[in-house]
């Protein structure tokens, strides 16, 4: 089993990685700190599981070297679990990438990281509703304070491939297609 940490640049994937594996990858408050990937191991139910810290990418259409690495990593690990780390205060654009990954048929779990930052900005997210709409587990986390990480792990087993066609945008009350940007 393999777990990929994916998400936009500067959402806390590396912090997540360090918390999961006990490693000490450089974390910084800049986009693009991770240009290459890092591999680590954690134990899950007594088994050793590989965790990969993938460079940040905005979408699965790569625009630069780091994004190419990210997309290639995803493509070569077809049966991997993907923890999609999203900045809670920038939920909407994060979901764009999450949906792209789900569309490729991966088992996705969404970690709404930086919950504290979102709270500061007065953003409240209805996780249950989001989970209902998307059909994948959604967990709020604050990775730097180690909050919610164990919950993500315990819900990994609920992650399964979903058919994105089943996600009706209307159910979420949105009136345009998030995938292509057209109304």
């Amino acid at each position: 089993m393999k777990i990929l940490l994916m998400g936009h640049p500067n959402v806390g994937k590396s912090v997540f990685f360090n918390r999961l594996t006990g490693a000490n990858v450089i974390e910084s408050n800049y986009s693009g700190t991770t240009v290459d990937y890092t591999r680590g191991y954690m134990s899950l139910d007594g088994k050793e599981v590989e965790v990969v810290d993938v460079p940040g990418t905005f979408s699965l259409d790569p625009k630069d070297r780091a994004e190419e690495v990210a997309v290639a990593m995803l493509k070569e690990a077809k049966d991997a679990y993907v923890i999609c780390v999203i900045d809670s205060s920038k939920l909407e654009r994060g979901l764009y990438l999450a949906l792209q990954i789900m569309e490729e048929g991966y088992s996705v779990i969404i970690a709404l990281n930086m919950d504290d930052v979102a709270e500061d900005k007065n953003i409240k997210i209805d996780n249950q509703k989001l989970e209902q709409v998307l059909g994948v587990p959604v967990v709020s986390t604050i990775a730097i304070e180690n909050i919610g990480i164990s919950k993500v792990i315990s819900r990994l087993k609920d992650a399964k491939p979903v058919d994105v066609e089943d996600i009706t945008v209307m159910r979420a009350g949105m009136n345009h297609c998030g995938r292509c940007g057209r109304t």
Partner: protein, 75 residues
Amino acid sequence: MEKRLNELNFDEEGTVKEIDESLLRQVAGMGVRIGKNVRMTTKQPMKGPVVVEIDKSFTSLGRSMAEKIVVEVKK
């Protein structure tokens, strides 16, 4: 009134109306899509990038990208 995104003045708001086909997918992942409200927050000097606010978060775009995005300016 229509303007190119890079032509917005500081604090001016608008709705994204047109995005050049070549960038459509590229900027979608950054939150820039047709119908979105944008507000100009910073224009870096020397033809540097522009920073716009969309959905309470900031996105920076290269000047040449911003030129290919048309917005309907709010009065």
